[in-house]
Symmetry: C2
Subunit: 151 residues, 2 copies
């Protein structure tokens, strides 16, 4: 499910230029580039939560919070990068996810995530896919309107 969701995200952004990745549809919009950075940072956070069984460190929080939270800071600083930058980040993060999941078993999946005891690892990784698919829906919507502001 993670891999299928990712394949659809990659298809949705194929061939986008820097200007298209940075395009802000309106004053509240996140750019497609910022959404890609968000997808990678959400996955990285859930790696820490479920694989390392801890909350983000203050340093990680500082480093990733713009991509995690998006909004005004994201509009200001998540821009100017080519598609390859986002794709390399997504690929590097995903490699760790797949390698680490491959070393776990189904019993691990059902275990409570100790720093977030309301969820188990299975839900956490479903949620990573779910958040990506949610933003892929927005990416498709935005891509269909690149450079065409509403009248």
């Amino acid at each position: 499910m993670l891999s299928y969701a990712r394949s659809t995200t990659l298809a949705a952004v194929e061939g986008l230029t820097i200007a298209e990745l940075d395009y802000l549809h309106d004053a509240k919009s996140n750019s497609i580039g910022a959404l890609l950075a968000h997808i990678a940072s959400v996955e990285r956070s859930y790696q820490v939560l479920t694989f390392e069984e801890r909350l983000l460190s203050p340093q990680e929080n500082e480093l990733w919070s713009t991509a995690l939270k998006l909004g005004a800071n994201g509009r200001r600083s998540l821009r100017g990068c080519p598609l390859e930058h986002y794709l390399e980040e997504l690929t590097a993060v995903r490699r760790v996810t797949l390698e680490t999941l491959a070393a776990r078993d189904d019993a691990w999946l059902e275990r409570t995530v100790s720093p977030a005891p309301k969820i188990n690892a299975h839900w956490a990784w479903f949620h990573v896919a779910e958040d990506e698919i949610n933003h892929r829906g927005q990416i498709r919507w935005l891509r269909a309107r690149l450079g065409k502001r509403d009248i």
Copy 2:
């Protein structure tokens, strides 16, 4: 996963008026109401495909194609209904899904869907959730902009 995805869709549309459900953000947009009708019709189609193991009949195709395909026809005809209309439709369709899935086992889930031999039932129902989550992302985006066209 289906139930969790649905709970987030319901939260995303809570309290919307008919005017808000019908709101078209731009000339290419689908309204939130049309997206809810789409979510119900996709689920109904996958019931036919996986539970009844057949393609849609010409009558079903005729009846559901507006909600399945959205676009211009959807903008014209999927409007004027209160939230309760969409919620009742979603609930009625979902009841059939959950009852029928409860009567199946995991081996059934892995079986090829005979009228669509590239997929199995597991993928089909993942895809139903995935399509809903994709549109929920769009619903959230649209809801944040109700009545505020871009300048």
